[in-house]
């Protein structure tokens, strides 16, 4: 195993730990926005894993997957935010 590969493996290990930590925040919450941003960070972690994995396996195609990931995760986040605002507006209208 070359130095480079070792570094890549270490990076993956680091990101794996990071992913788990992100999930800890996700599970703990407490608020929904917390979970949303941890999901955001989670997808960034996935992106990183994909990018490094692409290097490790010498397969550029995986970078495309990462590219799409970056776009897609954002849409999810947006929708969650949309949910929060809508929910809020609805409940405000109910309150009064």
């Amino acid at each position: 195993m070359s130095l480079f590969t070792t570094a890549a493996y270490i990076s993956i290990a680091i990101i794996s730990v990071s992913t788990i930590l992100t999930l800890v925040r996700f599970f703990k919450g407490p608020s929904l926005p917390d979970r949303v941003i941890s999901l955001d960070v989670f997808s960034a972690n996935l992106l990183a894993v994909l990018a490094i994995y692409s290097v490790l396996s010498e397969e550029k195609a995986y970078l495309n997957v990462a590219l799409i990931m970056s776009l897609i995760a954002f849409v999810g986040t947006m929708t969650f935010a949309y949910y929060l605002v809508q929910k809020r507006e609805k409940s405000k209208n109910y309150d009064q």
């Binding site: 396996s57 397969e59 195609a61 995986y62």
Partner: protein, 116 residues
């Protein structure tokens, strides 16, 4: 690899069924969707899984047996898209059931097939 794949498949199927057995319609739907994921994953892996060799060819011909079998991938793709169709429908069905029946308690959705 085989062990892990089997375990993932097992966990996904168990989880999906477990969700379907809950009282909440919402969880049923998540269970249904997970069931779809589990089956497509099963299709993909059992159909023929290879690591580090996506079926992308270059002009510089690679030895064919080095690459993954493209067919299970194509089938999985088709299956995912079809499942998506069903999933979207089911999700909207959830909304409609809630509006019309006024509950998401599966235990209350038991009238149509009782003897009356």
């Amino acid at each position: 690899m085989n062990l892990i794949i089997s375990l993932i498949i097992g966990v996904l199927f168990s989880a999906s069924l477990f969700l379907m057995f809950q009282k909440s319609f919402f969880k049923l739907i998540i269970g249904v969707i997970l069931f779809g994921y589990a089956t497509t994953f099963f299709l993909f892996t059992v159909g023929g899984v290879t690591k580090n060799a996506p079926p992308l060819l270059n002009e510089a011909a690679i030895a064919v047996d080095q690459l993954a079998d493209p067919l299970p991938q194509a089938l999985t793709l088709t299956a995912i898209v079809i499942s998506i169709g069903v999933q979207l429908f089911v999700i909207v069905l959830l909304k409609k059931v809630y509006e019309e029946v006024g509950t998401e308690d599966l235990d209350e959705l038991n009238t149509t097939d009782r003897i009356k």
